[in-house]
Symmetry: C2
Subunit: 163 residues, 2 copies
DNA sequence: TGCTGTTATATATCATGTTATCGTTTAACC
DNA sequence: GGTTAAACGATAACATGATATATAACAGCA
């Protein structure tokens, strides 16, 4: 059956990018599920931002991640519920709420940086390794590659290899 | 301020693709809003699929578009409410519900194909025209291009040019 | 000092994708 | 032919993005 989104080319590029992005997130989620980490894959960018940049107020976190502020507020509330981040009032400006990693969050990030993120990054990099040429061709190659073996399977294969 | 998603490269490729896709859809939506077309940009792929492939049951529509079936069921209900598609029972299989364009839907698609889609496609194609090289570089160029002038502005410029 | 406008965050609501599951219809097989 | 399995689509519940707007705190100036 014809893949209409693919056939339509540039006209539906937005839908297509979202579709690929969602598959990547879902695959990554399966990797995390197997490792029994209690965080959704979509929350990791926020943790990584705090790791890289240190404690930040909500607005700057939104800016650093390129998402709208209400989404960040929600993510922060969720991660605070899990005990991974905490929020403190700014001293000199009562409006600002500074988000920082808790001790638990710090530990999770350190473990992830050491054991998990490199594997995922490598699997995605492999998927995109030999790509060249026009964008639409590269996207098609990624879709085909994911259909052949998702990120979770690529990570698992690499892990199995080590063991 | 550092763009963390961009800095993380392949690790956050999923989030990044979704982010770009959403901006493209939002820009396209603004073009449609100006033209006072009563359909969300994300519904056009479904209409285009019916246009290309003819009447289809829900499941095959989902397959052709590469989305999960419940999303298609919802979109079809929405477009039926707007009078753009209609649903009829299959003769030989009472489970299948065949979706087809109504006369109004047909007219909308014909107008869009003639007047709207080519402009959007051209604006997106221009945005991606000179790209080459590794995927992440191309994505960065697209993000920069969209920040400089979104799809809606590129379409408007082209239209203004004609007038 | 008190009014006014701006900024930072929270909340409400919507859009659009997902998985899991249910009821109905069909098909397969003894 | 009747039981069992599979297929189709609807529904429920959730995830994660958006926009619009309300609330509270700050800043500037008469």
């Amino acid at each position: 059956m014809e893949d209409v989104i693919r056939s339509l080319g540039f006209l539906c590029l937005g839908s297509r990018l979202k579709r690929i992005g969602e598959q990547l997130q879902a695959d990554t989620q399966r990797v995390l599920d197997r490792l029994e980490v209690p965080v959704q894959s979509s929350q990791y960018p926020l943790l990584a931002a705090l790791d890289r940049l240190g404690p930040l107020p909500v607005g700057e976190l939104a800016q650093a991640l390129g998402f709208a502020q209400p989404g960040i507020t929600r993510s922060v509330a969720l991660l605070a519920e899990l005990g991974l981040v905490e929020v403190s009032q700014s001293n000199n400006d009562q409006r600002r709420r500074i988000v920082s990693l808790t001790r638990t969050g710090r530990r999770l990030v350190d473990v992830a940086k050491r054991d998990v993120w490199p594997r995922i990054e490598k699997a995605v990099a492999d998927l995109c390794a030999d790509l060249s040429g026009p964008l639409l061709d590269q996207l098609a190659a990624i879709e085909d590659g994911l259909a052949a073996a998702g990120i979770d399977r690529r990570v698992r294969n690499a892990v199995d290899c080590v063991q």
